[in-house]
Structures are given as C-alpha cells and as structure tokens.
Amino acid sequence: MADTIVIEVARYSPETDAEPYFQKYEVPLRGDWMVLDALNYIKDHLDGSLTYRWSCRMGICGSCGMVVNGYERLTCETLLAQFAPGPVRVEPLRHFPIARDLVIDMTDFLEKLTRVKPWIVRKDKTPPAREYLQSPEQLATFKQYSNCINCMLCYSACPVYGIDPHFTGPAALALAERYNLDSRDQGTSERLDILSQHDGIWDCTVIGECSEVCPKEVDPSLAIQEFKLTATKEWYKSFLMPWGGK
C-alpha cells in the first residue's frame, strides 16, 4: 500500500467564487482511516479553510453525509483505503444549495420534516394519567423506520427530488409512516391531508436509490409505497363511504 493518497475536494466560497471547483490534497493513506479522517487531516495540517460538517464520527448523528466518488456515503463510515490508489473525489450532497465547500443548506429538508408532523399526534383533550403502553410486537411494526438519522443521503440520491423540489422526499415520508404505524399515534389522516396536497408522495416513481444508500437500512422506498397504499385505501373509503368518521 502506498504512503499517501490524493483527495479531490469540492471547494466553494460565496465571497470569492462564481462556482465550485475541485482542490487536490495529498494525505497519508492509513489502513484504518475513514474519509472523514482524511478531511480532518486536511483541515488540521494542510488547509484550515476547508469547511464541512461532522460530529459523532460513528455513524449515528447524520452530520457527515457527502458524495464520495459519485455515491452518497457517511464519510465517518467510509474506509479511505478502499479507494487506493485514488484519487478520491469528495463533493457535497446533491440537490441542496451549497453554502460553502462541502456544507449544504438543508432548510428545505427541515421544512418538509416539520410538515409531516413527526411526533405522536393525539386527540386526547387532557394528558393521560400514565404512559401509553406498547407491546414489543407493536414496536416492531415501525421500528425500522425509526432508525432514520436525518443524514439526507436519500435526498441526494433521489432524482425525483432533484427534478421536483415540491416532492416531500424519502426521509420525511419514512418518518411520517413511522408515526402513522405507531400504535400510540392518531395523526394518520392529518398527515394524509397534508401530504396529498403538495405532490407529497405521488411524485415517487420507486427508483429505490434512497433505500440503496441509506446507512441505517430504513428502506424509505418501502415506507412511501405503504403510505401510498394507506392514502389509496382512505381515498376509496371517503369516496365510497363518505359518512365514515375520523
């Protein structure tokens, strides 16, 4: 194994640059380094101006999502040596505006996440006397979707989100379905009303790349198909039985 490897990092400074460009750095090639270690080496030793997000460095905070050699990865979980002899190209997540270097503006995602009401919605007038009970079987129905760490790799991988900014997107919809399936929640029809109105779910054409890149195996594509099934059942029910409540 060689001693060093070249990293090509996307740079963009809003004060001085008209558009992004790539800058090359040569970093040590250590067998146990992740791409994030290489970025930290650049910032510590070569170029302190490099700007990027990271935090836990163990694949749970969702901060360090970037595009490495064309594919969405968490850089803290992406082994550097697999790309030897290199170069390794590191770019910001797609389909979001670039704020600086590898940092994207995630306002649209946060707005969509809030829009789906990712919390327990109850119709109770007063708080309950004790906590809501839930069996392990009830938990198992939505547990997979609750693993989302909001890293936005799925938004970068989804061409539909790139084509149509109105699309709610994989992670927000997976989290909406997580709450729809939660036995303690009573907010399914509220979420349906919201999401049917804004091209929320119907833009999805089951490309499936979101589920391919998800580092926590959430399978947002499946969540969206389930959501479509729920929406269709409710639509036919309201059409055929308009007197039904809820």
Binding site: G70, D105, Q144, P159, T205, Q225
Partner: protein
C-alpha cells in the same frame, strides 16, 4: 418548498442534468424497467389485433399469423418478452413487500416477499399456456 433567507451569502444552486439517468447504473436500470410499459402496451395492442382478426374470419386470422411470422416482428416480440420478464421480476421483488404486515423490526429477506409472486406467476403461466395449447 423553502424560501431561503435573502441576506444569506450567495449559495450555489446546482441544476440536475438532463442526462441524470446515465449518471448511475441504477438510474439506467430504473428507466429501462419503466419503459417495459411500452412493451406492455405494444403486446396488448397485438392481442387486440389478434382478437379482431378472430372475429373477422379465417382469412383475416391467417393474415394476422402471417404478420406475426415476419422475422422483425419475432425479434421485436423477443425483446418485448425480455422487457416483460424484467417487469415481472422487478415488480415481484418490490411491490409485494408493501403487503407484508410490518411485524418485524428489521427487513424481511427478499426471497420471502418475492416467492409468493413468482409462484402465482408460474401457476398463471401454466394455466394460460394449457388453455392456449389445448385450444
């Protein structure tokens, strides 16, 4: 859709390329999979032509069969069959997943959700083939 604050430093907006579907093999596979629907429509039209010929008498049906024997038509039908098989396999791997109750905290193996669909496909094929041949 978010409206980004006006006083923010100039962010760089990247537009999706018109050739996005060539950018990744999975995207190309997706487009091919979706265009199988063209061949669905194609052979449904052929089937309607076949039935139309049936209703017009033996001479019309013989003409239909003659058309079907043209080498280019046979080639087109082989391509159509390939796309239909692609459709049914990818459909079986994806769609039935949504019908399995979510009683697991983790994903089900792919074959578990696809196998019932393959079995139905096999049974339907055998039954229809028997009717077509036994005719």
């Amino acid at each position: 859709m978010a409206s980004y604050p006006q006083d923010q430093p100039r962010e760089y907006h990247r537009d999706l390329s018109n050739w996005w579907w060539l950018g990744r093999f999975n995207y190309l596979k997706f487009i091919l999979r979706e265009f199988s629907s063209v061949f669905v429509a194609y052979f449904l039209i052929v089937t309607l032509a076949q039935v139309c010929a049936l209703t017009r008498g033996p001479a019309a049906y013989a003409a239909f069969r003659a058309h079907m024997q043209h080498p280019l038509v046979i080639l087109l039908n082989i391509v159509a069959l390939a796309f239909l098989v692609l459709h049914t396999i990818t459909w079986s791997k994806l769609v039935p997943k949504a019908f399995f109750p979510r009683s697991h905290g983790h994903p089900l193996p792919e074959m578990t959700t696809a196998l019932p669909s393959y079995i139905i496909w096999a049974v339907a094929t055998i039954v229809v083939a028997a009717i077509i041949l036994g005719a």
